[in-house]
């Protein structure tokens, strides 16, 4: 079964000064797929995510989102999909400490031009869905790590992104809180048909994905780097 590729990088080469982070990595992610990017610390997996998301411009490569080449675009045009099509969740939530939980969740909608009342209304819809009822007006300092990370997850998904980039989303949480975040992330992404690129070094987190790739020394390991039909077929049968 052929699956539509939503995001793809070919021969990514990226370096930071004299340190080469990616040495010709290629990967394609299918629409609606949850892909785990695994590998040891310093292997280049977060750099790969940043290149796919257009946050970093690689030294050389071709990066495509929805058939449009994005690595050659200027910063303004490259930031458009980051704002409108992509969602992000990072290891430490990175909530804005001065804003309430609901304001944090509403941020992508406000940046996208939504009116404040409408943005907050849509943001609040996510709180019961992620087990966050009653925390709408809390500041990030008044929440546990697991709660803050679920708020960050809501912020990543509130605008209905086509691709969610999650970089070690459970890295700062204990097993139980991490499992809750991953359950919610996988369920919400599948409900919305959101493609997920999930960087993790934890096998139990990667097990929520349809497929994994291993990054070693800036290259993709021997696991197939193109989508297998199994994940999509499974979801289509559900």
């Amino acid at each position: 079964m052929t699956r539509e590729i939503v995001i793809e990088a070919r021969d990514l080469v990226t370096s930071f000064g004299a340190t080469i982070a990616l040495r010709g990595a290629s990967v394609a992610v299918a629409c609606g797929e949850i892909l785990a990017v695994m590998g040891p610390s310093g292997s280049g997996k977060s750099t790969l995510l940043h290149c796919l998301a257009g946050i970093l411009v690689p030294d050389s490569a071709e990066v495509y989102f929805a058939d449009q080449r994005i690595d050659t675009l200027g910063e303004n045009r490259r930031s458009a999909p980051r704002r409108d099509k992509f969602g992000f969740v990072f290891q430490f939530g990175q909530l804005v400490p001065e804003l309430t939980a609901e304001e944090n969740v509403a941020l992508p909608l406000l940046l996208g031009g939504a009116r404040r009342a409408e943005a907050l209304r849509r943001a609040r819809e996510w709180f019961p869905r992620l087990g966050l009822e009653g925390l709408e007006r809390h500041l990030s300092g008044e929440m546990s790590g697991g709660e803050a990370q679920r708020v960050a997850l809501a912020r990543g998904l509130v605008a209905g992104p086509e691709v969610l980039f999650a970089d070690e989303p459970t890295g700062s949480l204990d097993s139980l809180a991490g499992e809750r975040v991953m359950n919610l992330l996988a369920t919400a992404a599948r409900d919305q048909g959101t493609t997920v690129v999930l960087v993790t070094h934890e096998p139990r987190v990667a097990a929520y994905a349809d497929r994994e790739i291993i990054v070693r020394d800036g290259r993709i390991g021997t696991t197939p780097a193109t989508p297998a039909p199994t994940g999509a077929a499974r979801r289509e049968n559900q």
Binding site: P40, E202, I214, T222
Partner: protein, 170 residues
């Protein structure tokens, strides 16, 4: 299979085969001589090994055993196939890696295949947890934590393969 792999490494007498096995794999549980000779007889019957002529010595006559082409093919298949992911796999994972290094087979490819098989099983268990009740969750968690421990061992071993190869080939 381990004895067959050791015979691919080098032809051997039963006594030396037991000594090599115990040195690499049987530290906590050495093989009995009876097990060695029974296994060699079965492997010879199945055409996986062949015995040389009896050689008179100080004790009973000794036979040197050689692996056959069919035996090498069997070792090849066994090393390339990941073990079924289940708890308590240490003996088989360890044996495959050490034998692969001894025989200069691609140990890293084996570890990659095992990692893929483990993750596939972890995926199935995770799906079971999402779809099942609490009892399923408890059972799946037990298996998941054991498989995760294997995965950590696989990653550490992959990172140290060069040093391990040097050690086992001494």
């Amino acid at each position: 299979m381990t004895l067959l792999g050791l015979l691919e490494w080098k032809p051997s007498y039963g006594y030396d085969l037991k000594r090599d096995y115990d040195g690499y794999f049987g530290r906590d549980k050495p093989l009995q001589f009876g097990q060695v000779y029974a296994t060699l007889a079965r492997l010879a019957r199945d055409g996986k090994v062949a015995a040389g002529e009896s050689e008179p010595g100080g004790g009973p006559d000794r036979k040197r055993y050689f692996i056959t082409e069919a035996g090498v093919a069997e070792v090849d298949i066994w090393l390339a196939e990941p073990a079924a992911p289940e708890p308590h796999l240490q003996p088989v994972l360890f044996t495959k890696v050490v034998l692969a290094l001894l025989l200069r087979r691609p140990a890293e490819s084996y570890l990659d295949a095992q990692r893929t098989a483990h993750l596939q099983r972890m995926r199935e268990l995770t799906a079971l947890k999402q779809e099942g009740g609490m009892l399923d969750t408890y059972l799946a968690d037990y298996a998941l934590f054991h498989l995760e421990a294997d995965m950590r061992w696989i990653d550490m071993t992959a990172a140290r393969l060069d040093a391990l190869a040097e050690e086992v080939r001494k």
